[in-house]
Structure formats: C-alpha cells, structure tokens
Symmetry: C2
Subunit: 239 residues, 2 copies
C-alpha cells in the first residue's frame, strides 16, 4: 500500500506516523479475519469490533431506515457518506463523542448539543442532554444533520421525539450505554427510523458508548473519503 | 437522600438535573445488585460495570502496586483519591479521555499528552501519543500526576518506560482497547506497577477504552469527595 493510501485509510483511527499506521493496519487485518468485508454495513461492523475490542460485537449492530436506493443494511452507511460529502453538520450529544470524531478528511462542522437548552433543563428537570437536543432542534440544527448520540439515552429519546414531529436528520448514529433506558432509547430510534425513513445505525443490548459512536461516525467519514477519491461509487454498491 | 448528597453522588456521572440524577441512581442501584459494595476497589468495579454496560466487567479489573497502607486492591484507589485531594494534575493520553473526566468536585488541572512531542514523532516515526508521553515526562509532568490512558497502547508502553526510568505517578489508570498490543501494554503497566510500587488500575483482556478510563478516574474523584466531606476516612479503610 502506498504511503498516501495508507495515510488516508488510517486517518480516522488517529494514525499519522508510520508506527501508528502499522498498528492500525495490523489491527484492522485482525478484525477482518473475523468480520466479513463485503458490504458497506460490514465496514461499520468491522469498526464496531475494532472500537469495542470484541469480535462478537459485529452481531449487535443494527441498520434501519432507507435511502433512495433501498432499505438494505447499507442504506444508513450510504446516507451517512452522502451527508459527509455534502458537508452536513455532525451534531453529537456530549463532548466525549465529539472528541473521538476525526477532524481530518471532511468539511463537516462538528458541534455538541450539550451546553444548549440549560434553561429548559432547569425549568423542567429533564436531563441537560435531552434539553439540549430539543433546543437545537428548535433552531433547525438536526434537519439534514449527522446526529451522533454516544452517551445519553434521554438525548436519543428526545431526538426520536423530534423525528416524530417532523425533523429529518440525514442519518442517526445512536449507541448510548448502560442499564437504564439505554437499550430502550435505541429501540425507540429504530422505531422512528423505520416509521419515518430516517437511516439509523444503532446497537442492541446494554453496551455501547461515546467511543463506539465516534468510531462509527468516523467510518461514515472514511466511506465518504473513498467515494471522493473514486475508490468507491455509492450508486453502484447495490446494483 | 438529600438533594445536596444526591448532587454530590452523581456529579461524576454528569447528572445535575433531577431527571438525570434519578437515572444515575437507578442505574447504580442496578449495578449494586450485581457488584459487591464493600471496599474501595468495589467502587471501581461498580463504575467499570456502569461504564461498560456489562455486569461481568467487574471481574476484568486489576489493582496493582501499593500505597503507604499496603498492597491490597484498595491501594490504587486510596492513592488516587489522595492525589485528587492534593490537586495533582490529571494527565490523559487523548482528548476523548479528558472530555469524559468531570471538571466538578476537584481542583486538579486536566491536560492531555497528545499535542506534545510532535517533532519526536516525526523524527522517529513512533506514534504521536507515545511521543507526547515521553515529551511530557521529560518536562516532569508525570511525576506525582494522575496518569490516565484510555486509548493508546503505545502511550501505556511509553509511560511504563518512564516509570522504569524513575518517574513516579501517584496512580495510573490504563485501559487501552483493541487487538494490537492493548492487552500487552496493560500487562506492562502492571509489571512496572508491582516492580516500582506505583499504584495502578487496569483491566485484562482486549476491551477497555477512553470512556472506561474516564469513568474510573471520575470514581477516584468521587472517593476523594467522600473523604473531603467526611463520609469516608482513607486511613481507616484497612484498619
């Protein structure tokens, strides 16, 4: 692999030096021994395994909703890559999710929801992240955005409410972790994803987290880079 | 539980509103059904389970090194809490780990290694995080610090080298995730932890990550808060 290609391939893993790129390549080589490498959805499955350090995590990833080409598992990946190419804003729930998303290889503005809507949170007692999602939605931020929720179930519930009320993110990546409402919040995202044709990548079960959400968002950026460089054509993928 | 106590208990989970505190309490109540609640080490085990959304993760946490009271599992937690009370700097490998560490309830300066040592990385081809650790160590930053490594195995290896060469962090929290050298890097930390009496909290296996590292560091802050408010006396714990 040429240095140029090398650098492109691993930029979303944070690798820029030769040593880091060697580690990133060895790591993804190991992952590909255990995860199929056929479809765009497989790339997301691979990245989930890499991010979680767990081979079986590939079976916990769910793809819902459809894009103009269909409702197959690749649909949210295509939609996400198109959104990156269109330089849609990437809106995360909290700072940790945002910090894990690469700033290289794309022109999308990264921003967090948290920090907005504090008055609403104080008035209602709802969580700060839920209030921040509702506040940004009121300003139209989630329409056409890449919505990444890595931490807060209540943010995912709030985003699902927004979608039910007409908001249309280009793609949702939702992987809140934990024992209280995390799984239910992702179920709710899947429900509105199917009901309103909003492509979404989520996981099932209790695990997840900001690192996973950032890694999957990075893979959307990575797919977009491959489209930009001509290595991949989104329209051809399912034809 | 009073509002005051409530707020203190869940501040490190990011909870400030009533709704968020309810979720945090329910969540920790669930965790405590499955994880013992006897020792300081148990608090770290509980937090690992909460952070990873996985009941079994409690069995993957390792406590090494000793403090002035002994080399029991609580030693790194006591050392970490004392370091927080002494307002030692918290030095993380990358931004994502730092972003997950609460800014409330302590006076420690938070900083990241990454961003330093870029010349060294360019010259040698080593990873940026490894170079950043070596560079900060040269400036004496890790002596007496709370060293948190959530992402980069090479940063953990570099820190272990520094410890071997005489650097003495107050405590190390190391949970790099992945398939290449992550597990080995934590083994190396445990080796120098035992050999040079540097208290360390690590996990075994391939899993881990920045979210886990941040959560465990937050629990050290939480224990320190309980000492500050008189709910807990570190010196009495093992007597």
């Amino acid at each position: 692999m040429s240095d140029r290609k090398y650098e492109r391939e691993y930029a979303d893993l944070g690798a820029t030096t030769r040593s880091a790129m060697d580690i990133a390549q060895t790591s993804m080589d190991i992952v590909r021994q255990f995860v199929p490498d056929e479809t765009l959805a497989d790339r997301i499955r691979q990245k989930s395994v890499h991010s979680m350090g767990d081979i079986e995590f590939q079976h916990l990833i769910s793809f819902t909703g459809c894009d103009r080409q269909g409702d197959d598992d690749d649909a949210p990946v295509r939609a996400g890559a198109r959104a990156v190419l269109a330089e849609a804003p990437i809106v995360t729930d909290i700072t940790m999710s945002k910090a894990g998303i690469t700033s290289r290889g794309h022109g999308c503005r990264k921003r967090t929801a948290i920090g907005n809507g504090s008055e609403l949170a104080e008035e209602t007692g709802m969580t700060r992240t839920a209030a921040s999602v509702l506040e940004l939605d009121k300003r139209g931020v989630y329409d056409g955005a890449i919505a990444t929720i890595g931490n807060a179930p209540t943010a995912a519930f709030a985003l699902a409410d927004c979608i039910e009320n007409g908001t249309r993110p280009e793609v949702v990546v939702a992987t809140p972790v934990g024992f209280v409402k995390a799984e239910e919040s992702r179920e709710r995202i899947r429900d509105v994803s199917e009901a309103y044709d909003v492509p979404a990548i989520t996981n099932v079960g209790r695990r997840g987290g900001s690192g996973l959400a950032a890694a999957l968002t990075n893979e959307l950026i990575h797919v977009a880079s491959d489209v930009r460089t001509g290595e991949l054509e989104l329209e051809e993928v399912d034809e």
